[in-house]
Amino acid sequence: MRYLPKSDSERQVMLCEIGAKSTDDLFATIPAEYRLKGDLNIPRAYAESEIVQFFRQRATESAQGYATFLGAGAYSHYRPVTIDALVSRGEFFTAYTPYQPEIAQGTLQAIFEFQTMICELTGMDVANASMYDGSTGAAEALMMAARITGRHKSVIATSVHPEYREVITTYARYQGMPVSTVGYLKNGRVDLEALDKAIDNETAGVLIQSPNFFGTIEDVTAVGDIVHKKGALLIVSIAEAVSLGIVKPPAAADIVSMEAQSFGVPLGYGGPYCGVIATREKFVRQIPGRLVGETRDRNGKRGFVLTLSTREQHIRREKATSNICTNQALVALMCGIFMTVYGREGLKELARHNLAKADYALCEFKRSGAKVLFEGAPRFNEFVIQTRTDPYTINDKLLGEKIIGGFPLKKFYPELANASLWCCTETTSKASIDAAAKEVAL
């Protein structure tokens, strides 16, 4: 086997050294009746060239060379080539959690910079080193709110990504955390009156998403006023990170739970992505996951370490803030490089291009006769239209033109029949928008 650095004669020498007669001796501790007698029933070993060939074939059986209008929690942005050039360095991707800071300063400093950039963009004081993704991060943020407030209930807007809500339901079930929902208004924003009624003095956290699942930007300040008046915490989930380049950060939030996939992470059929939780300084000891902090070595030199680990499972065991251990470090590194490439001006410009493409598409779709839903509140790069024809039929037609149409909403929102969610990013061409506009007119 080409990954194994030993010859049979070396194996023999080693067995001899150990005092074992054969390899079987090493496994003698496993009762004989459970030891496999023959080979596992899996295919024979493949040559590297065959492996590449196999996956190339699979890749051609997946949508290749399609233009897409899908967003809905996973966004198609251009990935600067510097990202893969750098994360492909073995020093980054074949290292593990920086438990030994003297030989892990590269990972540690990169995470420290990532934490800083997330703070700059979200307006929060501290950010962690990453969570699995936006959905589990949102669930962990609600649990964090319960620890901080000593209350146990949660309220979630139905305009939060439906799969995030499903994950939260799973996480909350045995935490003694009843979850209730509040709906949305005609303009796509959270129903503030219903929200006011839904919060009581046992509500720990309220979760909204902005831009929300319909692409509408919430009035976070107004939501915050209601939530804070009742002594609960406001958690704002951000699924489209590029929006932060042009939309004001949610200053009224107590916790921001982000999915940073838009920052240079491949769509990759849904993962791995990069969740991150950011919060106020006063809540830092309740944040889940790893944190990197700055310190000094014995000679006064600046260095970085994993810190505040008394929150974590390897120390606190069943009293830990979460069971999370492995996170998404390499994906966070991708995000860090992306944020650095675009930087202070580029993120703004990139976000403006997204805004312009989506606005053009919206106007063109409207002109073709599609009805635009949720008018009256600002959007970023996604919007909802209602068509006379079933969106699945429209999408079938578009597939013939190598275009993947918008996301039909009926699956998650039965009340939104014939409605679909369309996303435009800087990668969406005017030509494909014009082509799609013709079909939505049907």
């Binding site: 194994l4 150990i18 596992l40 991707f93 849904g270 810190t307 069943e318 492995t326 005017k430």
Partner: protein, 498 residues
């Protein structure tokens, strides 16, 4: 003589200094260029009103060459598997094959949107299906989900399934038994599923104490979470009896698969009585650890737990194509959006394909051979608290060295000078001052010999020159860091100097 002459694996080299990226920033520098906008430009203030953002604070402004140098310099400050032996116990730091990275980045896979229609996702679905089938064959289980994002996430999934199963039988029960040698994630997981944790003592051989287990298992016990081989690197020889005791009382056996690298191709958890288990694709199946992630933690189970798996599951549809089945009324629900860390599924399948059945078995045999070789090489120099046969990792204690004021953490720091990543320090907790060494199959005899020599030299230094150990590492960019102040006065982000 500074004590470094005998170090053979490593020597000093030039290491570039590098500031924080923010300290390289200067207004107007750019590393990007967007193509000309092919649609009319917009006025954000008009579209977004007062929500329009003007200023991105202290986000960096740097050029491309500075970015390349910045991250390249940072990378050279890391130790990695690509540099050499990384015997971090319980983490299985094995070789990460390059072909895995190549195939995971193929455009049709890397650019697939999770909501694109299933009929144009058949390639991705087939990868998930084949990986599922092969993991089932490897574990001897009946059903599987690839959705969990990491090992601890798999534990959460598995224990939620246990709870759902017991609930369907009328009583979810109250507690989870966990051996004192377990990973911290096990008790933290049990707590997240609303169970209390009851500690299970190990016997003198480092295994589950069968009489205590028998005494502790009753109608309140939902499951035992057991790592096998356990964190001492010891195979629980009476695993079948353990399963029987649990099953007799209606409790389930959860197996933490963190140490599957000792078993693949030799023995299958499904055959020895495990009901549900997770795998760490980033350990056993060589997906890269990435400086702390991403991982992937598939959960495999027996038929009785199949109905409770997270939705959706992959199915072959009536027309022969692959798709997702969402209608699973008894499912615990979703544990993650979309379908899990698909990029890791691609890599793990490529790893299994490269090995085949004989390669996987040889891999396991080499991993166990290497651990035993290290044990033999070091048992005269370090205290071996458990003499039970070693599987894929071996745990020593620092008892002899403590007498001279040297602890496991100090030995680890000195090992850095010798050019190695240290072993896992002070874990498992059942061994005071543990040195937990997992060489994996990726080490040659020559590199193991160097490691043994280094560890022996350090043991000698403990006797002759303990100061050199207490002040180690000497050959790194930075010396030991002040972790106490870091925790007491946390600085968790860069701020401009006022």
């Amino acid at each position: 003589m500074n004590g470094n002459e005998k170090i053979r694996k490593a020597t000093t080299h030039i290491s570039q200094n590098e500031v924080l990226i923010f300290e390289r920033s200067s207004a107007g520098k750019k590393a990007y260029m967007l193509p000309p906008l092919d649609v009319p430009d917009v006025d954000p203030a008009k579209l977004l009103g007062e929500l329009a953002r003007e200023d991105l604070g202290h986000m960096p402004e740097v050029s491309e060459i500075e970015i390349i140098r910045h991250y390249t310099r940072l990378s050279t400050w890391n130790y990695a598997v690509d540099h050499g032996m990384y015997p971090l116990g319980s983490c299985t730091m094995k070789y990460n094959a390059r072909v895995n990275e190549t195939v995971a980045r193929l455009p049709g896979l890397a650019e697939a949107h999770p909501y694109q229609p299933e009929r144009i996702s058949q390639g991705a679905l087939l990868i998930m299906k084949l990986l599922s089938e092969q993991l089932l064959e490897i574990t001897g289980m009946d059903a599987i989900t690839l959705q969990p994002a990491a090992g601890a996430h798999g534990e959460l999934t598995g224990i939620l399934m246990v709870r759902a199963c017991l609930e369907s039988r009328g009583n979810p029960r109250k507690k989870i038994l966990i051996p004192d040698s377990a990973h911290g994630t096990n008790p933290a997981t049990a707590a997240m599923v609303g169970y209390s944790v009851e500690n299970l003592k190990s016997n003198a051989a480092g295994m589950v104490d069968i009489p205590s287990l028998e005494a502790q298992v009753n109608e309140d016990v939902a499951a035992l979470m057991l790592t096998n081989p356990n964190t001492l690197g010891v195979f629980e020889r009476e695993i079948h009896k353990i399963a029987e005791i649990l099953h007799r009382k209606g409790a389930l056996l959860y197996m933490d698969g963190a140490n599957m690298n000792a078993l693949v191709g030799k023995v299958r958890p499904g055959d020895f009585g495990a009901d549900v288990m997770h795998l760490n694709l980033h350990k056993t199946f060589s997906t890269p650890h990435g400086g702390g992630g991403p991982g992937s933690g598939p959960v495999a189970c027996k038929k009785i737990l199949d109905p409770f798996l997270p939705a959706p599951v992959i199915v072959t549809k009536a027309d022969g194509t692959l798709g997702f089945e969402y209608n699973r009324p008894q499912s615990i629900g979703r544990v993650r959006m979309f379908y899990g860390n698909f990029g890791m599924h691609v890599r793990a399948l490529a790893y299994i394909m490269a090995n085949g059945p004989d390669g996987l078995r040889q891999t396991t045999e080499d991993a166990v051979l290497n651990a035993n070789y290290v044990r033999k090489g070091l048992e005269d120099a370090y205290e071996l608290p458990y003499k039970t046969p070693t599987m894929h990792e071996v745990v020593f204690s620092d008892r002899r060295q403590t007498a001279k004021g040297i602890k496991t953490g100090d030995i680890a720091k000195r090992l850095i000078d010798y050019g190695f990543h240290p072993y896992t320090v002070s874990f498992p907790l059942v061994v005071p001052g543990a040195l937990m060494i997992e060489p994996t199959e990726s080490e040659s005899k020559a590199s193991l010999d160097l490691f043994i020599e280094a560890m022996k030299d350090i043991a000698e230094e403990v006797e002759q020159n303990p100061e050199i150990i207490l002040e180690a590492p000497h050959n790194t960019r930075i010396s030991r860091l002040d972790e106490t102040t870091a925790a007491r006065k946390p600085i968790l982000r860069w701020k401009p100097q006022s």
